[in-house]
């Protein structure tokens, strides 16, 4: 049996530090390419179109999006996560375009449900989403 190692966490570098600094303030900040205007996730060293580092700018995003897919994880990898099961993971299509896999806190996940970023100061290294207020979601349900 391999001994469980330390809890997995992001290796914070100059590449992704702005993401976590903004998350600590409750803001979802992502890179935008100057040449195409595309918002990127995960963080990159250079623009994937023009390969220039100075083409990328960190911009504050709305943090709003829709659930593209979801799962409830009953068998996480690291034992430290076992008491938290089921862990609800969502793939969120942000209104600005990119897709982010993160946790959903509270509420029942549903494809197309509207969500908003809800980062906690306790663990700014985790991007967390919560269901948007019912007004936003109920109007969507009526559309269906």
């Amino acid at each position: 049996m391999t001994q469980p190692s330390e809890l997995p966490g992001p290796v914070i570098t100059s590449l992704n530090q702005p993401l976590y600094e903004a998350a600590r303030r409750g803001i979802l900040s992502l890179q935008r390419t100057g040449c195409t205007g595309v918002i990127l996730f995960p963080p990159r060293a250079v623009c994937p179109k023009c390969l220039r580092a100075d083409d990328l700018t960190w911009v504050d995003c709305s943090g709003s999006g829709s659930i593209y897919s979801w799962t409830q994880v009953y068998r996480p990898q690291h034992p430290a996560f076992f008491p938290q099961v089921p862990i609800t993971l969502v793939a969120v299509r942000l209104d600005e375009g990119p897709m982010i896999i993160a946790r959903l806190e509270g509420g029942e996940p549903r494809i197309d449900a509207r969500v908003r970023a809800a980062f906690t100061k306790d663990d700014p290294n985790l991007l967390v989403f919560a269901l948007a207020p019912t007004s936003e979601n109920s109007s969507h349900m009526e559309m269906n």
């Binding site: 809890l7 992001p10 994880v73 009953y74 996480p76 896999i101 985790l126």
Partner: protein
């Protein structure tokens, strides 16, 4: 018209184990030795070496050659995860055609168990997975392909019952495979009600990480005796980072559509002429996506195709005739070669009790290197008998 100067002549597997009973290099050597023996060659005949193994680091293909005492004129190491074995096969064929080598030993494997496999995914698979997935308790690739299946079901109606047919049929094939780790018969009800791993994925959607290795011999056609049944590599293809759109994270497609039509045209084979498939089965939902991507059915129609097709050993289109990774276990990078080994055995008429009545043309596919959410590398090849 391609020249048929390079052939597949041998295939072999080490014993598979749920927990490693020998060092990684022991598994790789055992598979290689058996593959060479199967076509009447010895280690002294080998002048080319191709290896894929997640756990080989800090060693590599060159230090592996040193370890097993091989002098080679061509050495290749795969980094494409479960797509690597077929990429390496295509590279070996090209090397032989160039005259860089005459007998290439292609080997893939790892000495994982469940715990060490999880450890790798959390910490050392790639930076995107380590930094942006592992901290969430994402459940490894199980969590990611749960997201894929959930979305596939939402868009196309792919059902658990359709996917059950893959797992259950493969298990009945594995009953006839002495090297499969999971040989107890599996029922549809077992599959549908098994322990939840990451909804909607349950236990029998997930491969068992294990220890073992697979190997094939690619050589010049005249390097083996006349009575060795050889297999032709009619064509193949590969795509890496198949969709440059960085927001395509939950994959409903893969890279196969980018080369599938050309691959079948190069082979001179239509899809209807394919006798059997060896698909990369890390999850049943990925077999569905490969069926769609390789053009055996339309996009989104994979579930219904499985439902309507007899995929058993006596059926119209047998799939994963040795049980696949879902029943044999996934020996790390060896999982990318298990279908190739099985295809060679079927085409050579050496598949024992699970030998197909008609095995003249087969397709093998590979898939691997999950980065941020999606698997990045896709490969496939069309093989045929030389008779």
């Amino acid at each position: 018209m391609m020249a048929y100067d390079a052939v597949l002549a041998g295939a072999g597997e080490s014993q598979y184990h749920k927990k490693a009973q020998q060092p990684l290099l022991g598994y790789l050597a055992e598979a290689g030795r058996r593959a060479l023996h199967s076509c009447g060659l010895g280690i002294s005949d080998v002048d080319g070496l191709a290896v894929t193994s997640f756990q080989l680091s800090p060693d590599n293909v060159v230090t592996l050659a040193e370890h097993v005492g091989l002098q080679v004129s061509w050495a290749w190491q795969g980094v494409h995860g479960g797509a690597s074995a077929i990429v390496g096969l295509l590279e070996a064929v090209a090397a032989i055609r160039r005259g860089d080598a005459r007998v290439v030993l292609c080997v893939a494997g790892d000495a994982f168990d469940v715990a060490s496999h999880m450890e790798m995914l959390d910490h050392s698979f790639n930076a995107a997975m380590r930094d942006y997935l592992a901290p969430y308790g994402f459940g490894g690739t199980n969590g990611l392909f749960a997201l894929v299946e959930q979305r596939h079901r939402h868009e196309f109606g792919t059902s658990r019952e359709q996917l059950a047919k893959l797992a259950v049929t493969q298990r009945s094939n594995a009953v006839l495979n002495p090297n499969a780790l999971l040989r107890d018969p599996l029922t549809v009800n077992d599959y549908l009600t098994a322990r939840m791993i990451s909804s909607p994925l349950r236990l029998y959607d997930c491969v068992l990480p294990c220890a073992g290795a697979d190997a094939v011999i690619v050589c010049a056609a005249n390097a083996v005796a006349d009575d060795v049944p050889t297999v032709r590599v009619l064509s193949g293809g590969q795509t890496h980072n198949w969709d440059p759109d960085p927001s395509n994270v939950i994959m409903l497609d893969g890279g196969w559509p980018y080369f599938g039509d050309e691959m079948f045209a190069d082979a001179g084979v239509t899809r209807d002429e394919v006798d059997f498939l060896e698909l990369y089965d890390d999850y049943p939902i990925m077999e569905v996506i490969q069926l769609e991507g390789l053009g055996f059915c339309g996009r989104g129609a994979g579930g219904r195709f499985i439902e309507a097709t007899d995929i058993s050993l006596s059926g119209r289109l047998p799939i994963n005739t040795g049980g696949g990774q879902l029943s044999c276990g996934q020996a790390g990078a060896g999982g990318g070669m298990i279908g190739l080994v099985e295809a060679v055995w079927q085409l050579q008429g050496r598949a024992g009790k699970r030998q197909l009545r008609r095995a003249r043309t087969g397709v093998v596919s590979g898939f691997g290197m999950v980065g941020y959410g999606r698997g990045l590398s896709c490969s496939a090849a069309v093989l045929s008998t030389d008779r």
